[in-house]
């Protein structure tokens, strides 16, 4: 399907010279600093087509996530993209999940179709418009979290989800967040900052109420579980752990933090160290990079092994 905005974007990208896409710069340094000299471009903007009855939305990469969510909310829908500002393309390139990933789903599962501009300046389509699809290789997954180093995302189709009728945040001090996760059926989030625990419950009113009653059985340091407006403020940097490793977090290393229990993501004030990759994996990743961007012109300086610095 020819799309003028995409074609124009492809022309801008062209086939030569280092280029990078700039979104809202909310996670600009993720994966390392851009090499100087790269041309900075903006991805096209705008919601192309929302199909509420299909639970899909076709949106251009430069569209702010907030704007997308605002549009979807009018239809009682949302996506898995994180609510931390920025653009749709940026969120996908970084691959960051929403803090309520348990309830809203993972970003990598939400991308149904990606249209990107290749290192050669061609528009390429991966995936397809339907909610289920195993046609050919899964370029969508490959692109989520690829930091724009394999192709520059121009337009995507995302899965949308219904917004549950009721949503509640509860907070308690001195409680065991793992016990909370254990007793609850499907919480949207269980967050822990080393002292306080926040639980996000969503669903039908009676179910949320029932979960709340279940939760009240989890002991607290007094004061019990109290309702609050929202979850905690998230520190800027993302660390990634196994869910079980969250039992032994070290505040001295992380700084102030909020851990997403059951998921393994930790938002911290200190930045994470680069993580080692096994040599065989590194070699494979390099072959992938080389296959898509032989000249290394896309987002030079960014490396996927590095999470948020």
């Amino acid at each position: 399907m020819a799309d003028d905005a995409l074609e124009a974007f492809a022309t801008e990208v062209g086939a030569r010279g280092p280029v990078a896409v700039e979104g809202a710069r909310t996670r600009w340094s993720t994966g390392g600093e851009l090499e100087p000299g790269a041309r900075l471009l903006r991805a096209p903007e705008g919601i192309v087509e929302h199909r509420p009855e299909e639970m899909t939305v076709r949106v251009r990469a430069g569209t702010p996530v907030d704007e997308l969510h605002c549009e979807l909310a009018a239809f009682g829908q949302r996506t898995a993209l994180p609510r931390r500002g920025g653009t749709v393309g940026g969120a996908l390139a970084v691959g960051e999940d929403d803090v309520c990933a348990l309830g809203r789903g993972r970003v990598r599962d939400a991308l149904l179709q990606v249209r990107y501009v290749s290192a050669e300046g061609a528009v390429v389509t991966g995936g397809g418009p339907t909610v289920k699809n195993v046609t050919g290789y899964d370029l969508c997954r490959l692109f989520v979290g690829s930091l724009g180093t394999l192709g520059l995302i121009g337009e995507v189709i995302l899965r949308t989800n219904p917004v549950p009728p009721v949503s509640r945040w509860l907070r308690a001090d001195g409680t065991d967040p793992f016990a909370a996760l254990d007793v609850l059926f499907r919480p949207s989030a269980v967050l822990f900052d080393g002292r306080a625990t926040w639980v996000h419950l969503e669903g039908h009113a009676a179910d949320v109420e029932a979960e709340r009653r279940t939760l009240s059985a989890v002991p607290t340091a007094g004061g019990g579980w109290t309702e609050c407006e929202d979850g905690p403020v998230l520190p800027p940097h993302r660390w990634s752990f196994r869910p079980s490793e969250l039992r032994q977090l070290d505040g001295a290393v992380l700084g102030a933090y909020v851990a997403s229990v059951g998921v393994g993501t930790v938002f911290a004030s200190h930045s994470p160290p680069p993580r080692p990759q096994a040599p065989a994996l590194r070699a494979l990743a390099e072959r992938v990079k080389h296959a898509f961007d032989p000249g290394g012109r896309l987002n030079p300086g960014r490396h996927v092994a590095l999470l948020a610095p």
Binding site: D109, K132, N133, V134, D138, L142, S244, G264, V288
Partner: protein, 491 residues
């Protein structure tokens, strides 16, 4: 076009296959098979396609053995085809050329279950349903539930990114795999993904899933395990026409309800399975819709009620709620054995698998029936309606002159109609050999070139399951001119 019916048993090769001795050196005599009749069994999977001849068949029991087998194949310049239970429906596991076949069925241990990380480590040959059975006492299950789950392997599920009725709410296999140990086509071992929230590196785990054995062999798989729902409600709605059933499906989704499963069966298939399972399916209905909602008590009650309302508004003639676990199990057994049960209607079937937008279902279904009629074929429909995943089965008798050609022509038209409605080539069975030549209908040359880049990054020498997924003209496809043959054709 040679059908299986006319294929003769191949005589034993005059000289023994030179790689056999080397493979025996790796695995021992017991676990390398070279008998012609035994090898001929592996020329097929559950699909209607048959390819070349299997070369030696290997049964490794560990990652190291898989590596050794692959390295031996590399040394002998041979291709390797991984195989699980052989229930694939797109010919993914059939050998083209004379590759070494690596069967994973002896790698069937559940190694570890960790409730803290909600993960199970399994070998690739573990049968899908065995894992769920194993997890049952712990209150967990493995969410992807292909209708073949009693037989198919988790390795096969990963390779095909398989779905199943309950993937409507829970997502397909790809959403439930955390980490993979993969023996690459050169014999190197890599771990893709990991248990942490965001493993470093590109999401090569995600890229590997659905690779249909062309990107390497998964030898260890960490899957996410899912808490069993608190409450399950299973509804059976009967309609006069399949279009009414399909419209209901679209309306349920549009109303913001995501049931765990929504499956449609048309009149003929309902009759066929009823005679096998005796679940009390209504035989006079034009179509039945099986809806399952799961979750907490209240939410499921509300959702079930709304589904019934929507169903009635769209012409549901009967509504039945499964009262017991046995009744529910029977209803599902009927759905899950539907493909096999069609043998009662005609000796052979060819199963299509496309996806269309849910709102397009009624129209596309009508076209499917018209296409079949035009080609003088019987078609039955039983499918994952909730995500628009059609499974028309074209029934025929291969002994009838020209039947195969008509089946092919009709199959292609169904693909074209689906794509024209904004759909895709395959929802869950994969491309294999079946649809590789249809790929250009959905993707441009540039798109295919990029898919090929991914493939070549994993398998620069084209050794892993060559001839699958990508059409000729793209590398690793031109192993040999392929014959595409609907079989089941022993009639």
């Amino acid at each position: 076009m040679a059908s299986r019916a006319t294929r003769r048993a191949r005589p034993q090769p005059a000289a023994p296959d030179p790689i056999v001795a080397a493979l025996v050196g790796v695995l021992g005599r017991d676990r390398v098979r070279d008998d012609a009749a035994e090898r001929s069994l592996l020329a097929h999977d559950a699909s209607v396609f048959s390819g070349g001849a299997a070369g030696p068949v290997c049964f490794p029991t560990s990652t190291e053995e898989v590596q050794a087998v692959v390295r031996t194949a590399v040394a002998h310049g041979r291709a390797v085809v991984p195989r699980g239970a052989g229930t694939g429906l797109a010919g993914g596991a059939i050998p083209l050329g004379r590759p070494v076949v690596v069967v994973t069925t002896k790698m069937n241990r559940i190694l570890d279950v960790d409730l803290d990380d909600r993960v199970a480590w399994v070998e690739p040959g573990v049968v899908n349903l065995d894992l769920t059975t194993y997890l049952r006492p712990l209150g967990y299950h493995f969410a992807p539930d292909p209708s073949s789950q009693q037989a198919c392997t988790i390795g096969g599920n990963v390779a095909n990114n398989s779905g199943g009725p309950h993937c409507l709410a829970y997502g397909v296999t790809g959403q439930h795999v955390l980490a993979l140990d993969v023996v690459l086509p050169d014999g190197e071992l890599v771990r893709l993904g990991g248990l942490d929230a965001e493993p470093p590196a590109y999401d090569l785990r995600g890229a590997f899933i659905g690779g249909e054995g062309t990107l390497g062999i998964a030898t260890l798989i960490a899957v996410r395990i899912t808490k069993n729902p608190l409450r399950v409600r299973t509804l059976l709605l009967a309609f006069d026409t399949i279009e009414d059933a399909a419209t209901t499906v679209g309306s349920v989704i549009a109303a913001g309800i995501v049931p765990a499963a929504m499956e449609v069966m048309d009149r003929r298939i309902t009759a066929a399975v009823e005679s096998f399972v005796h679940a009390g399916y209504p035989l006079d209905a034009g179509a039945v819709l099986l809806v399952e909602v799961d979750g907490p008590e209240e939410g499921t009650a509300v959702d079930a009620e709304r589904v019934v309302e929507i169903g009635r508004a769209n012409g549901a003639t009967t509504v039945r709620v499964a009262a017991t676990e046995e009744e529910r199990a029977l209803l599902w057994k009927g759905r899950k054995t539907a493909f096999g049960a069609v043998a009662k209607i005609a000796p052979s079937y060819y199963l299509q698998d496309t996806v269309v937008p849910r709102s397009a279902l009624p129209g596309v279904l009508q076209s499917v029936y018209e296409i079949a009629e035009r080609h003088d074929l019987m078609v039955v429909n039983v499918f994952h309606a909730g995500d628009g995943n059609l499974h028309p089965l074209l029934l025929f008798d291969s002994r009838e002159h020209g039947a195969i050609e008509r089946v092919h022509a009709a199959g292609r038209e169904i693909v074209e109609v689906s794509l024209a409605a904004g759909g895709v080539l395959s929802g869950e069975h994969g491309i294999g050999v079946e649809k590789r030549d249809y790929m250009p209908l959905q993707f441009s040359d540039v798109d295919l070139d990029h898919q090929n880049r991914l493939r070549r990054a994993f398998d620069p020498a084209c050794r892993a399951n060559p001839g699958k997924v990508l059409p000729s003209g793209h590398s690793c496809a031109d192993i040999q001119a392929l014959e595409r043959v609907p079989a089941g054709l022993w009639g």
